[in-house]
Amino acid sequence: MEQSVKDTEDVVILFAGDSGDGIQLTGGQFTDTIALFGSDVSTFPNYPADIRAPVGTTSGVSGFQLKFGSAEVFTPGDQYDVLVVMNAAALRVNLPNLKKGGIIIANSDGFDSRNLRLAQYIGEENPLQDRSLDGYEVHAIEVTKLTREALKDSGLGMKAIDRCKNMFVLGFVYWMFSQDLANTIRFINHKFQYAPEVRDANLKALNKGHHYGDTMETFTSRFDVKSAQLPAGAYRNINGNQAMALGLVAAAKRNDLELFYASYPITPASDILHELSRHKRFGVKTFQAEDEIAAICAAIGSSFAGGLAVTGSSGPGIALKGEALGLAVMLELPVVIINVQRGGPSTGLPTKTEQADLLQAAYGRNGEAPLPILAASSPRDCFDTVYEAARIAVEYMTPVMVLSDGYIANGAEPWKFPTSAELHPFQSNAGSEITNVEGVFMPYARDDRQVRPWVKAGTPGKEHRIGGLEKELVTGNVSYDPENHERMVAIREGKVAGIAKDVPAQIIHRGEAEAKVCVLSWGSTFGAIETAIRDLLQQGVSVAHVHLRYLYPFPANLKQLLSGFETILIPEMNRGQLAMMIRHQFLIDARSISKVQGLPFTVEEIKKVIQNELSK
């Protein structure tokens, strides 16, 4: 196995702060817990440059580095995935060695003006607030304040209380890495057995930090950045939600449309709203509605008025939008619906990832109401996918569902961003005259792709009425005629099905068409599967990878492409939803590989499944 093709599950963390912050102990505890859990861990000391440097200065920063999840030992060249900093100086010193798009956990109480000055931030600009950390996943927590609050009745003095901050942070980090507290609780119980107040204070801080992750709906699955060789070009880091937001701004700007994003906050989709609400410069209108139903209905209204209308949510919120989605199908208006999936069912696991809303996307409304479904495969792919979704919505006058998930929404990776000139403009039929039958405007006349016209309310001479009752062919009047209904059902279905011909033919991402095993996938499993298959191919295994962006309709050549394989395995973070769609459409014995743990597949899991299959 080549060096570059390394197992990507390893994580490198640096805990950094003042020497008084208990960094070494924190790191040590984390290491012990991880090791107990059965992972390989290696650590690397990182002492302050100057042991007597004053508190808060860069030279006083102490660190504890560890790497876990792979057998490789820590090497000085390793960049951190996660940086835990107790103050501004710790950030300043260590940021350069953080991976692009890495995670920062910062005690924001360590960023007051004194700290900023000591850390030599110019003009005391707070990096936690000035967007200079864009592209990183930043968790800014008032650790000092919260620890003091938690321990105000502990009987300890302020100094002693502040010494428990590290336990608060440790608790939070345990939450993020879904680790158990038991080991550290044992440790504290033992260490402070003769100082019950100190013991209790430490235990409480640890617990509170852990709860904090829960209470804040802090997302706990982390995106693995594949350290592949990047092609030449200009790059930036981006996470999925940001990419989604930028994709929308780009779609609007490039096509002279006004973006309207209506949403109701929900983890892990809220950041799209947050991001877009900052882009008033681009004329973006964001609307925090009273609920998800209002949000999609407002989007429908916006679309009727000619806006590039988008609504986003996560599973439970998408469930609420089902009825209105049906209306959008009936109205044949462009609306983009984004589902940043999380663990279900019901409220489920709001801070964990899953891809179990595919069938809801396809069938979660009454009647025959087909709509296109696209899924993003990685943080950066959210940009392209949502841009393409907007294109299809506008060109085909249809609601389009975009599936992302918490894993890629919160995870960042390097992105070779396009120039605006590289973005293809939409070919909308708006303004074309297909719809005048003897001088009378016909809202349901269609072009040769079966698409009706998009006429912005307010356009003179084209006043028309649309609605959710079945409508007559061409005129759009209400119609109860049986044959008309059957034809309209067929037209709506046919129009969407026709998109299959207008999307790129499905490719095999890796491996050959003659491979014994084909791994078919969609969404955020892309990275792990690509890596696994790259490895196996290098070992000479006969395997191929096909990854879908278009889930409904499938690309026109998919059936033929798949029928060449003996065995098709479909790993999904659900109970086999794509597998079901493939099986019924193509009647091939595709097999579901299911993982429903709120966690992404690891490369090893994928490899094992394939190897098992081949050794049968």
């Binding site: 008033k280 209002a294 000619g306 961003f417």
Partner: protein, 341 residues
Amino acid sequence: MKTAKDASTTALTPRGFASNQDIRWCPGCGDYSILKQIQTVMPTLGVPKEKMVFISGIGCSSRFPYYMNTYGLHGIHGRAIAIASGVKSTSPDLDVWVVTGDGDSLSIGGNHLIHALRKNFNINIVLFNNEIYGLTKGQYSPTSPSGQVTKSTPFGSLDRPFNPASLALGAEGTFVARGIDRNPVQLRELIAASHRHEGTSFLEVYQNCNVFNDGAFHAFTDKNLRDDHVINLEAGKPLIFGGGTKGIRLDGFTPRVVPLGEYAPEDCWIHDPQDKIKASILASFFDYSVEQAGLPRPFGILYEANRPTYEQTMMDQIERHFDQEADLDALLKGNNSWEVK
């Protein structure tokens, strides 16, 4: 194709606002009158018909948009106002009308109603209140009086109805008015006033459903009863009714009916639609039947206040930051890009 100008000009008659669709309401339904008054008022507003959008939910009343030769969207049950908020956000220059029923906007759509009132989109809500679910054949609604026997309450309903005006006031509404299908002159004035009001206009219109709830507003339309049951409000004018024989005075917070003659009109409560507390008292007349307190039902504008509209503040905020030249490439590049060679 006609030009925009032509289309607009020819539309400026009531007929020009009528679509070519057959009107499907039951003969005798109060909806006809409301349609007629709206079609009559529209040409007087100076708004070209392509700038008008009628949005509705589901119900008999919600069929309305099909009958208007303007833009129209017949939505889903309860969601008309939410749809309207999107239309208005994207195109603040459109004149947006919401036509809805008591079920549509007070039962399933209640949340969108109260939030729109609070946010104060400049839209005009016309609520056809027939105190029944018409389209689904006669179940009680949130405005049906307690005890009403309907298809779904064969032994009488248990609920206290909403007092729609009180609810609208409680939800920060800036324009609260009441009309009735059978008083077309007043209704036209109220429609025009709703249009003039900048903010969410809440116009409740009593509408007779002669099939499932015939006579619900009998006391307000019957020649012999209406004088005692109706009081028409006019700003700056005293509260007088009963064919000029009775007035209303405030005794502390308690409205009392007094005989005119004994009292001069100037002694009566002078209607001030800007006073929210007085508006609350007017709204509360609803809670007493004439039989209890002799208080008539107020028609007209109960309350009107000025507050910036939602879409205007939205536009203002955007305008402060908008940049025609905003550079998409700079946005895509971000603050921390790098080159891989």
